[in-house]
């Protein structure tokens, strides 16, 4: 099914999904080890004065997590959408070009080095992501131009190589540190500083906005590189910029929250099932849908085995796949 891209439909979709996001976010603020009524959540968010335990839970623990989940979910889903169009491959996800492996390796190397460097692991991760981005780009060029085909191959090869290096480095660390690296393999939303949140919001907003700028071009790009060129698209410029934006979004998300899987692959497809492949509708749908999905997944991760926690990446995988299968059967059955 596809919803024609018109101003009215776009606004309607954005409003509906935004309302949905607000609803699940409030639910996430209310539910947890302690269930808080809406009134207390409201006070916790906006109230001044001395903070009781409930307000602290809301403001200090749940709110940063919910905000982080929104931002990371939106970033990964948008990046996945853009990469699926760029590579013309429905199996592409934000990590297929090796960005998350590069970020994980950057952080793990920082841990290995130890000391002060280990404390700056988000920065080291982002550095790893950037280096990988440049490396894959250089490798993915053919005859001086970016080709989506060679880009995909370069990315897959790099990702495999980096994963092997990661396993090698992990085997050199002692057993206890191996446990901590679960973060990179499964993702975690529990630690985020104010500074990080303040940086993430504009960066991710600009990144998604930038991708939206290329929405029309991405539609044409789906037809093929040659066909796009013949329809007047500056293919190299569009592909390069989309690649950079998608990689930055992924790199920033992974640096702060580890590699949360399946979201960047599933949400674009879920979005297409609902609004179609027109990126003018799909990008906002995927961004908001990704935010909703991650907020819900994190809520489940926090509550299903309380007082313990599940890794959020496990929840996105286990919860996302059946949803996808159900929708798939409904559309094709």
């Amino acid at each position: 099914m596809s919803v024609p891209a018109t101003r009215r439909n776009l606004l309607l979709t954005i409003v509906l999904l935004s309302v949905g996001l607000v609803v699940v976010s409030l639910a996430a603020l209310m539910v947890g080890g302690v269930h808080l009524p809406l009134r207390q959540v409201w006070v916790g968010l906006w109230g001044a004065g001395p903070a009781g335990q409930a307000e602290v839970i809301v403001r200090e623990i749940r709110l940063p997590r919910v905000l982080l989940a929104m931002l990371v979910g939106a970033a990964l889903a948008s990046s996945g959408t853009a990469l699926q169009a760029l590579l013309r491959n429905p199996l592409a996800d934000p990590y297929v070009l090796g960005i998350s492996s590069g970020a994980a390796l950057g952080a793990i190397v920082a841990l290995w080095v130890g000391g002060r460097v280990a404390n700056a692991s988000p920065l080291a991760a982002f550095a790893g992501a950037l280096v990988t981005m440049v490396w894959v780009f250089a490798l993915g060029r053919r005859a001086g131009r970016l080709s989506s085909y060679t880009l995909l191959l370069a990315g897959v090869v790099t990702a495999s190589f980096l994963s092997a290096v990661i396993i090698f480095v992990l085997s050199m660390l002692s057993t206890r540190d191996v446990r901590g690296t679960a973060f990179w393999l499964m993702g975690d939303l529990s630690v985020v500083t104010d500074v990080q949140l303040h940086l993430l919001l504009p960066v991710i907003a600009l990144g998604i906005g930038g991708l939206y700028f290329f929405a029309k071009d991405l539609n044409v790009l789906l037809l093929g590189e040659q066909e796009s060129a013949h329809l007047g698209v500056n293919v190299t410029r569009v592909e390069t910029l989309v690649y950079i934006l998608a990689s930055l979004l992924t790199g920033v998300a992974v640096s702060v929250s580890g590699a949360i899987g399946y979201l960047g692959l599933l949400v674009p497809h879920l979005g297409r099932m609902v609004v179609g492949s027109d990126h003018r509708m799909l990008i906002p749908t995927a961004a908001l849908g990704g935010a909703i999905m991650l907020v819900v997944s994190d809520l489940l991760a926090r509550t299903l085995v309380a007082p313990g926690e599940l890794p959020v990446g496990a929840v996105t995988a286990v919860a996302g796949a059946p949803v996808f299968i159900y929708l798939l059967r409904r559309t094709t059955g």
């Binding site: 130890g114 540190d177 975690d188 926090r302």
Partner: protein
């Protein structure tokens, strides 16, 4: 592979059977006479009477062997065996999780020591196939740790010395317990890793040590060795003290936590009751008691001022 007793001519069959029966009867835990024993982890192993060439697959075992004065019998240890300093000079066989079987075999040991917590079952099985027996230690409590020291002593023929060492250690532990008796016990959160937040489970060795040092570990209801814990739950349980193990790769700047959302609201963070403890707190070996004393000093300061171990 079982070691088959050498056929000794002149010994009548009847006597051989009697001797074997005697050996079976004397079996329960490691004795210097028995060849077939049950190690501390519950496995049945066939070990030599007097092992001369020994390989250690975990740092705590290395420490125990040296403490018993048997360092010259140690022919190999892991890359991570760092105490005493002489241990670093021994031939290394690799990591704890993945030691090199070839390296172990090349050293021609007659016995290998391992632990159930750190080493893998597969390593033991593979060594078995190579004809190298592995004696497994397993310490889930402080008492188990003391038992480990005695077991190593018995296996290596220094049982008496081991028992005297253990006696001294127990005395010190008791002294700690007496000192802190009657004092209010602080609630302790032990942070193995903070991202995600991982702590020690309620039935682990670490929890037992914390209890003996006079603290209440904050992990009721958390099963497993290294469970993840949500920060919300930590906030609800209100730790008085937060402990971090000081290792090479994990030394977070403690004032970082005063800036992290959630953490900064914990009373323990606000009042700076965050301390590093030496890694040996998780090592079942003689130095464990040093760490225990140090921890007791943190949790129950003698003079009322903070212990040196902070930050």
């Amino acid at each position: 592979m079982r070691r088959i007793p050498n056929e000794r001519s002149g010994l009548k069959k009847r006597h051989t059977i009697a001797l074997l029966l005697a050996g079976v009867v004397c079996m329960p835990s490691a004795t210097s006479l028995g060849r077939l024993v049950t190690d501390q982890s519950g496995r049945r192993v066939d070990i030599p009477a007097s092992p001369q060439r020994v390989v250690s697959l975990a740092p705590n075992i290395t420490e125990i062997i040296y403490a018993l004065g048997l360092g010259d019998r140690l022919v190999g240890d892991t890359d991570y065996c760092d105490y005493p300093p002489e241990a670093k000079l021994k031939p290394h066989v690799g990591s704890i999780v993945n030691p090199s079987l070839e390296s172990i075999a090349a050293l021609k040991p007659d016995l290998v020591f391992g632990t159930a917590d750190a080493n893998r079952r597969e390593t033991a099985d593979q060594l078995e196939r190579l004809g190298i027996p592995l004696y497994g230690l397993a310490a889930h409590t402080f008492d188990d740790a003391m038992q480990s020291i005695e077991d190593v002593g018995d296996v290596l023929g220094q049982g008496a010395k081991a028992r005297s060492i253990v006696e001294g250690l127990r005395k010190r532990a008791q002294a700690v317990e007496q000192r802190i008796q009657g004092q209010p016990r602080p609630r302790v959160l032990f942070v193995v890793w903070y991202r995600p937040l991982i702590t020690a489970g309620s039935h682990t060795f670490l929890s037992d040590v914390i209890r003996r040092a006079g603290g209440i570990p904050l992990n009721e209801g958390l099963r497993g060795e290294w469970p993840r814990l949500s920060l919300e739950e930590v906030l609800r349980r209100e730790p008085d003290v937060i402990l971090f193990p000081r290792t090479e790769s994990f030394s977070p700047a403690l004032d970082e936590f005063t800036r992290l959302p959630g953490w900064r609201e914990l009373r323990a963070v606000k009042e700076h009751h965050m301390y590093f403890v030496p890694e040996t707190i998780m090592r079942p070996c003689p130095r464990l008691v040093d760490a225990l004393e140090q921890l007791a000093g943190i949790l129950h300061p003698v003079s009322g001022s903070p212990s040196e171990a902070r930050k």
